[in-house]
Symmetry: C2
Subunit: 369 residues, 2 copies
C-alpha cells in the first residue's frame, strides 16, 4: 500500500493506492463520523464489490450501511438520477453527519460526489474508484458534476473527498474497452505535464494493457502525483489546473454531439487530443512529429484517433458553451512541447477548423498510415 | 448609505444598506467581471424593480443583461424551477465568468444563490433582497437551497454572495403579510442573540409595521450586524451559527406539514419560536414570563403564535429529518434567557410533545389571554 497526499490545508486528504485497498477497514475508519454511511454504486460494480466494501465499513464501525444503486453508464450523470439518490438518502433519514462512499468509475464518482456536495448543503464523501480512468484522474481533485442536455458537467461543484481508496486489484474485472479509455487520461497527463511519462508509456503500454500489476500501479501512482500537485496549487481551476483539460474541449463536443454514452469519456478525450494536437501544430509551434507520436501512442492503446465527422461548424457550436470560455471566447489547452501545455485564447478560427478536419473520422485512415 | 462587512477572508463581502441602493451602479460595478450578467427574479418583483436593476447594471458596464423569470412563491424553490434556470443560462451561453443577480425575497435568493453555487461548478452572485425577511436574514451568510418533497432546504450549498445590496425603500411595496413575516426573523435574532433588540422592538414594533424609514433601517442594520458576526465566526454552521435556527426546527415541520407555501416562512418561524420557547421553559429553565413576552411581541406584530394542530406524532416525524440532527438525535435550539440561545441534544421527548401541544392551534386562544 502506498499513500500520497493532496495538500489542501484543512481539506487535505490521502490517496491510498494498492491491491486489496478496498477491503482495508482502517482506510475508511478515520473518515466516518457519528452518522450513517451510504454507498452509491451501480448495477455492474455493485455485484462485484459492494459486499466487500460494506464489510470493510462495518469493521470500521459503520452500524448501518445504506446501498444506493443507480443505472450503469454516462446516463446516470443526470438530474433525474441525482434526485433519486437524494430521495434514497432522505428516505433513510441520513443526516448532515453522514458519509457517502462513491464506489465505481468516473460517472459514479462525479454523481455521488456532487450528491455529497449539495445534500443538506454538503456532507463528507470517500472515493473508491474501480476503473483506471477514475483511479488515474477523476477521483482526485474534487471535481463533481452531472450533465445537462446542453453540455457535459455543466452543473456541479468543487467538493474534495475525505480520502481516495484506489484498489488496483479491482482493475482485473474492468472491461477491455474501459481499460483503454483509462489509459487515454494517462496519456493526457503525460502530454500535458510530463514527457517522462510519455517515454515510459511508449516503452510499456503493452504491459499496461496486459494488466501487469506493477505497470498499473506505476501509472496510477504517477498520475495521482501529477494531479495532486496541480490540485494543491489550484483547487478551483483558476490557473494551472486548467491544463489538465488537454483534449477535453474537443472531447466534450464529441460526447455531446454523439449523444452521451455512445463514446466513453476516455475515447472522446483521445480523439479530442488529436484535434488539440493538430491545433497545437498550427497555432503553438508543436512539431508535426510530436502529433504523430500522440497518434501512434493512442493507436497502440487501441484508442480512436479521429472524432465523428460532425463538420467543423457543429464542433464550434458545441464548443461555444465550454466552461473554459472567458469573455465569450473559447480558450484552448495547447501543447508547445510534449509535457508543456499552455492555455490560449487568441487562436485563429481557421486553424481550429483545420484541426477539427484533420482529427475527424474521414481523415483518420490517412493519418494512421 | 451604510456599509457593513462580512469578514470571511478571501470571501469577505460588503452589505450595503440604504434607500435607493438598488439603483447605485457603483455598488454592482466592482463585482462584474468580463462575463455576462443574469438577473433572476419573479413575476411579482420583476415588474417593480427589474428595469431599474438592469439600468444600474448597464451603467456599471454590463453589456447584455439576461433576465430569468421564475414563478412567485415557495414553490419556486424546486428541482424543476432550478433546471429551468440552468436551461436559460446555458441557452444564453453564460460562461463561468458570468454573475447572477438575485432580485427578490428569500425564495429568489435561495434559488438563484444555489443556481450560482453549482452552475459550471460555481459562479459569482449578488444578492439584491427586496423583502424584509431577505434583508434582515436570508441574503446574508451564503446559505442557499431548494426544497425536496421530503424536507425544506434539503439540497443546497454554502455559497457566499460577492455583495448584498439592501434597498430599504423597496420595502414600501412589500405586502403587509410579508412585512410581518420579515419581522419574525428580527424577533428571532433578538431572542436568540440580543436582548437589547427585543427591548427596542417592544418599544417600536408599531413604528416598524408602519414602515417608518428609520425603524426599518435600524432593524435591517442591527440584524445584519448580528448575522455578519455569527457568519464570520462560523461560516458553515459547525458551531454558534446554528443558534440562528431558533424556531426553525419546529417551523420547518409546520411548513412541510402544511404543504409549502401555505405558511410564509416567517409565519412558520413565529409559531415555531413559540414551541421552542415552550420547550425552553420545560427543558432550559427559561422563565415562563419570557415565553409570554415572546408570544405578546409576536401577537403585536400580527404573527401566529400557534402552529397547525397536526399532533405531536406528526411533528416529531417531520422533525426527524432535521438537518441539525446528529447521530440520529434531533437537536434543539433553546433559550436559557432572552438573547442567550443554546443547542441541546439531551431533550426529553415528553417535554417536546408538551411544547408542541402548548404551541399548537388548539391552545393558542387560551395562551393568548
Amino acid at each position: 500500500m502506498e499513500t500520497l497526499r493532496v495538500a489542501l490545508g484543512g481539506r487535505a486528504y490521502p490517496i491510498h493506492i494498492g491491491a486489496g485497498a478496498l477491503d482495508a477497514a482502517e482506510l475508511y475508519q478515520p473518515h466516518l463520523g457519528a452518522g450513517r454511511v451510504a454507498v452509491v454504486t451501480n448495477a455492474v460494480v455493485g455485484p462485484l464489490y459492494l459486499e466487500r466494501v460494506k464489510a470493510a465499513l462495518q469493521r470500521a464501525g459503520a452500524a448501518d450501511v445504506l446501498a444506493v444503486l443507480v443505472e450503469d453508464g454516462e446516463s446516470a450523470k443526470s438530474w433525474g438520477t441525482l434526485d433519486r439518490v437524494f430521495d434514497a438518502l432522505l428516505g433513510a433519514r441520513l443526516g448532515r453527519d453522514s458519509v457517502i462512499v462513491a464506489l465505481g468509475g468516473g460517472v459514479i464518482g462525479d454523481l455521488a460526489g456532487f450528491a455529497a456536495a449539495v445534500y443538506q448543503r454538503g456532507i463528507h464523501f470517500i472515493q473508491v474508484p474501480t476503473t483506471l480512468l477514475a483511479q488515474v484522474d477523476s477521483s482526485v481533485g474534487g471535481k463533481t458534476a452531472v450533465n445537462h442536455a446542453r453540455g457535459k458537467n455543466m452543473i456541479g461543484a468543487f467538493h474534495q473527498p475525505r480520502a481516495v481508496i484506489a484498489d488496483v486489484a479491482a482493475l482485473a474485472t474492468l472491461p477491455e474497452r474501459e481499460l483503454r479509455a483509462g489509459v487515454a487520461e494517462v496519456i493526457k497527463h503525460g502530454f500535458a505535464l510530463d514527457a517522462a511519462l510519455i517515454g515510459w508509456l511508449e516503452s510499456n503500454v503493452e504491459r499496461l494493457l496486459a494488466r501487469d500489476a506493477a505497470a498499473l500501479a506505476h501509472v496510477v501512482r504517477r498520475s495521482c502525483e501529477l494531479k495532486a500537485e496541480v490540485v494543491a496549487a489550484d483547487e478551483r481551476e483558476a490557473g494551472p489546473r486548467i491544463l489538465l483539460n488537454f483534449g477535453h474541449t474537443f472531447g466534450h463536443a464529441i460526447e455531446a454531439g454523439s449523444g452521451y454514452g455512445a463514446w466513453l469519456h476516455g475515447e472522446a478525450v483521445a480523439a479530442g487530443m488529436v484535434m488539440a494536437g493538430e491545433l497545437s501544430a498550427r497555432a503553438a509551434h508543436l512539431p508535426a512529429a510530436e502529433v504523430l507520436r500522440l497518434r501512434r501512442l493512442l493507436q497502440r492503446t487501441g484508442l480512436p484517433v479521429g472524432g465523428p465527422a460532425l463538420g467543423p461548424e457543429r464542433y464550434l457550436e458545441l464548443m461555444a458553451g465550454d466552461k473554459k470560455a472567458a469573455a465569450g471566447r473559447i480558450r484552448y489547452v495547447l501543447l508547445e512541447a510534449v509535457g508543456r501545455a499552455v492555455l490560449r485564447a487568441d487562436v485563429d478560427e481557421r486553424d481550429v477548423r483545420a484541426a477539427i478536419a484533420a482529427g475527424s473520422a474521414a481523415s483518420t485512415a490517412a493519418a494512421a498510415q
